[in-house]
Symmetry: C2
Subunit: 130 residues, 2 copies
DNA sequence: TTTCAACTTTAAAATTATGGGATAGTTGGT
DNA sequence: ACCAACTATCCCATAATTTTAAAGTTGAAA
């Protein structure tokens, strides 16, 4: 199938498929005589793998490692688990950071009248912090 | 004072000060005869304002609006509050998304033996989702 | 058969916010 | 006068994706 159909059935846009190939995440695709890329079920399967990993927030570097582990029948599940745990830890760190931001914002917003007068604790906070 | 001192006392790097000026977040700075930028206490105050807003996760577009509101003595606190609430809502959306990712990852990782055998629920999940 | 819409190709650039480097000019103290 | 430390501008890099543009290909209708 051509790239458009592979994109539709895998959920990875044609742009991204070409991009992943360009950066080496996917092996260079064999071309038909007309220079169009040609995809089969196994390539679509790989694309789905990538999309799922992306949906879980993995960066492309990690996705490359996961693809290698997937292809490697002699892999150790230890290595996969380590990647997943490390990524979960990263997510937790970012979540904590954003929660702190949100909590501060909610506090400030709750203290703000939200009327047509200029006085505002939010602006005061932004203006006063050293 | 010169840009280096303004950077130190405001917590915004010299690179970023120049960048903010270039993209119009800050008004073009008057230059001394030697073409060096010159900053006073009010500029440093503005830089601190920007840094605090950045620490709260506001994007530069929002920071521009907040700066306008700060400068505008006839502002309505309603407008400030709306920006803060909108940003808090964005944070909440991202937090929820990342929590869902993390929870899935933790579930999968807990189900994984993490030994030297290849069998792995994490890989299976990535490979099987449509 | 011509033609036209819908595809594909490559390449380049925008996005967001920041950091890094190169090169050149300026300052200030010794 | 000299030299380290500063400043100036300009370009590049990051991460992942979208956008744009220009050019070639296909398939089917008119």
């Amino acid at each position: 199938m051509k790239i458009g159909e592979a994109a539709l059935t895998s959920g990875v846009s044609a742009k991204m498929i070409r991009h992943y190939e360009e950066i080496g995440l996917l092996p260079p695709n064999l071309r038909r005589a007309n220079s169009y890329r040609d995809y089969g079920t196994s390539e679509v399967h790989e694309l789905r793998f990538i999309r799922r990993a992306r949906d879980l927030g993995f960066g492309l570097a990690d996705i490359g490692k996961l693809l290698d582990l997937w292809r490697n029948k002699a892999r150790h599940s230890f290595d996969v688990k380590a990647l997943a745990r490390a990524h979960a830890a990263e997510l937790n760190a970012k979540i904590s950071e954003m929660e702190a931001m949100r909590d501060t914002l909610v506090l400030l917003a709750n203290a703000c009248n939200g009327d047509n007068r200029p006085d505002c604790p939010i602006i005061n906070d932004l203006a006063s912090k050293t």
